[in-house]
Amino acid sequence: MAQFVKKDDDRDEEEYSPFLGIEKGSVLQEARVFNDPQLDSRRCSQVITKLLYLLNQGETFTKVEATEVFFAVTKLFQSKDIGLRRMVYLIIKELSPSSDEVIIVTSSLMKDMNSKTDVYRANAIRVLCRITDGTLLTQIERYLKQAIVDKNPVVASAALVSGIHLLQTNPEIVKRWSNEVQEAVQSRAALVQFHALALLHQIRQNDRLAVSKLVTSLTRGTVRSPLAQCLLIRYTSQVIRESSMNNQSGDRPFYDYLEGCLRHKAEMVIFEAARAITELNGVTSRELTPAITVLQLFLSSSKPVLRFAAVRTLNKVAMTHPMAVTNCNIDMESLISDQNRSIATLAITTLLKTGNESGVDRLMKQITNFMSDIADEFKIVVVDAIRSLCLKFPLKYRSLMNFLSNILREEGGFEYKKAIVDSIVILIRDIPDAKESGLLHLCEFIEDCEFTYLSTQILHFLGVEGPKTSDPSKYIRYIYNRVILENATVRASAVSTLAKFGAMVDSLKPRIFILLRRCLYDNDDEVRDRATLYLNTLGGDGSVVETDKDVKDFLFGSLDIPLVNLETSLKNYEPTEEQFDISSVPKEVKSQPLAEKKSAGKKPTALGAPPAAPTSTVDAYEKLLSSIPEFSTFGQLFKSSAPVELTEAETEYAVNVVKHIFDKHVVFQYNCTNTIPEQLLENVIVVVDASEAEEFAEVATKPLKALPYDTPGQTFVAFEKQEGVLAVGRFSNELKFIVKEVDPSTGEAEEDGVEDEYQLEDSEIVAADYMLKVGVSNFRNAWESLGPDFERIDEYGLGPRESLSEAVNAVINLLGMQPCEGTEVVAANSRSHSCLLSGVYIGNVKVLVRLSFGVDSSKEVAMKLAVRSEDESVSDAIHEIVAN
């Protein structure tokens, strides 16, 4: 192909490329050779290569250009040159012609599909299936079915792989091929079996029984290619996940198969099986051991990929089963010096998770050497791991804090430094002993910190924590240095920090005032303003008085109003005689606080950093409720239910309810969403009829002022009930609001609205609402320790039931308790079952329940219920729940 370019003498110095100086326009011109009556197939191939080169480099063809090339290319089907034909196949796939163009090549491709040349057949199938649509597919379906069982493996694979792709767009057609695919699964060609297995599984993926049968037959049969074996392992673990495991005998179905794969000759199969075992639900250490053993062997492999795969998997295992991984620690330690930095980082973070307290110092020494030559992103992962290690072994804070302060002094980017500072701040908060040394490290850091953001963060933190230490005065120097040396932003926050020391520590007051007075001459107005404000409020006119509480609250109290609301209120405020009243700012949070919390979650880091702890929804609810004055007197929130939908999906207004249970109150939180762009709802309330819930009395309603399109809002209704009474009932709900038309083009609502109402489904308070699902790790111990004093035992007939497991689930749901030790799963065909439940009843009373079920031949289920709790009346209450 050297004739691609006429070598230019001037360019001899440059790197030689056959595509030097290639231009789209000229190549499109060259494509005219496709139309020659006498085809030069070599030359045509070269032109197609050039076109493909252009596309590959990211060049795009306009619609007209692509169509022209496509039509010219179709002429090339006349040539009998195999090489050219294959280039034609390639370019047709790249051009992805539109459906009206496809017709032009369909007949040529169909001819090739039935050609005697296998290369043609396989490729024509792949091209045709790539560009075809549903109508054409029915025409060629017959050939595809034949091709699947073709004796040539390349043809069969081509048809099967095309089937996998087509299943996404035309599932109903591909599903008709399952007989042929089934036959292909038995094929002796390794890859045909692999592709057939993939397709067959996708056809049947919604039929659990069929998948289970498939896995059962294949795990006993022969699977030829390692790829197919990997696939089968994946399907097997899916089946294991979905089938209830048989915990009584301790055997897991198909575990033997997975374990057998650990002795397969292909490394990819061994690894796939080992990984599948580590990811089994509730895997036991006995099951883990053989998998860990093969992974440990991989750790000392000469292949980096193998080491990486093994250490990455072990790293994940270490999060849940650190003890199981400790055996590999010696191999891990040698990986710290691995050439591949990803492997080294994974090894270190694994060691940090599995290490014991005595090994910490040695480990830190090794890591210190390693830290200097890895990239920032890896360093952040290590810092995170060290932080969790420190929280695990608080006694070791000294060496870990030293490590953090050392790396804080070294070079590093913002993200890395921020990770270190955050870690130190967390350690100071959680480990009281670490406070003083940690604060000093931070002080030293801000002496030479190039990041304004970090400086101000640390100064703020110093202001909060510093005054509470034994000798607050030693921090003053560091803070005042900032006022002298830094930019205006840092100076301003240093002034605030100084004022905090002044307010909190009376003995420092006179000295602080001197420093603050100096700041009055600062050349930045914000700094001067702050200094003036603090001097005046703290009484800096010379009289040393005790700072009163109001001043402290004013200066340093947290702002309990959402900033967004404050901002809107301030914007709406027109300067008049009347002063702006901060208490008029609504405290309710506009958008769903949960959604915000989620988005604030940590971004996943490149390496297997521990996932951020799931944000506690209860916390979010508690914060939300306590911010509403009407509900702030209800006391501690006991439980919040999961949202219950009160409307059908895709109705005009979507409403769900969350039930918040307090000792003496129940609050319904209605989350409403308006799905009509042309409407604005105002004064939204839910009118609740509690006539079927006599023990409840409505005490408060919190309407939602405005509910614009697609912005969820909440309205609340609170009920009072007697403390300690298990009050249940049914509530009927009706949404009431004023609806205003919105002009979709301007987004402005009309002045006048119409009152309207909207019927919602009923909500219910049931016994389970008073029960928190709290598991115990060792049921037997917990049971023994509660003692038989308040034990209540009784027997119940549950009547005829569909199955034993259905009866067990019904009782669990009725009580709303946490099943322990996997006892919620009933072995198939068993005649009896015991189930252990634990929970916390309202009033923080611990409750444990033992259920014994028996079923007779007529499906009558009998149950023995034994309850132990810390309170006699609660034990009785549980029985009452079941008795009703």
């Binding site: 080169y53 040159d81 090489g83 296998d118 493996p153 990997c230 899916q238 490149a606």
Partner: protein
């Protein structure tokens, strides 16, 4: 996890990070600029590593990238976060060795560009829409090298360059020691040897 083992892209870059041939199978990179950005970041971060004797591995944007270099050619195969690293490595090895066979051991950029058609066909034979078609380098190279004249083609269509090319391919094939390695190419090989002897 129930999904079929798959790869997200295959990249062949030169020693400056420029494309020789690339193929994307995933929607993760919609535009050419996002593709180029990915290539650039992968190239810069792996540039200094020594991935010549054994394939190396790294993680990028929640993908695993397995790579191997030969002279001024950099080979990369990307798989999802959950993918079995060894499967991705097998695809890379298949691609790497097949290109080596097709370029008759001259693994450099110049040779690769001069035989770009073979490399593109090679990519086409390894993976179809993300699904692994074949990982055995001999079979892949065999399928690609199976250029030959259709049984129905008249002799007159053969030009001198074609004859040379056929000779070259014949050489390739003897190098590959194909000898009916796969029934697909077996037919072609059988026919050619008849014709040329």
């Amino acid at each position: 996890m129930e999904s079929c083992p798959s790869v997200k892209n295959i990249l062949l870059l030169d020693s400056e990070g420029n494309r020789v041939a690339v193929k994307y199978y995933s929607d993760d990179w919609q535009t050419n600029s996002s593709k180029e950005a990915f290539e650039k970041s992968v190239f810069t971060k792996t540039q200094k590593t020594n991935a010549r004797a054994e394939a190396e591995i790294a993680m990028f944007e929640n993908n695993i990238v397995v790579y191997k270099f030969a002279q001024d050619l950099h080979f990369f195969v990307t798989g999802g976060d959950d993918e079995n690293e060894l499967i991705v490595a097998t695809v890379l090895q298949g691609f790497f060795d097949a290109v080596g066979l097709l370029l008759r051991g001259n693994m450099d950029k110049k040779e690769a560009l001069e035989n770009l058609d073979l490399i593109l066909l090679c990519l086409d034979e390894i993976v179809d829409g993300g699904i692994i078609l074949e990982t055995d380098a001999n079979v892949i190279a065999g399928k690609v090298a199976a250029h030959s004249i259709d049984s129905g083609a008249p002799l007159s269509e053969q030009t001198i360059s074609q004859a040379l090319a056929t000779a070259r391919e014949h050489l390739t094939r003897s190098l590959l020691n194909l000898e009916l390695a796969s029934p697909a190419s077996g037919f072609q090989v059988g026919f050619c040897s008849q014709r040329e002897h």
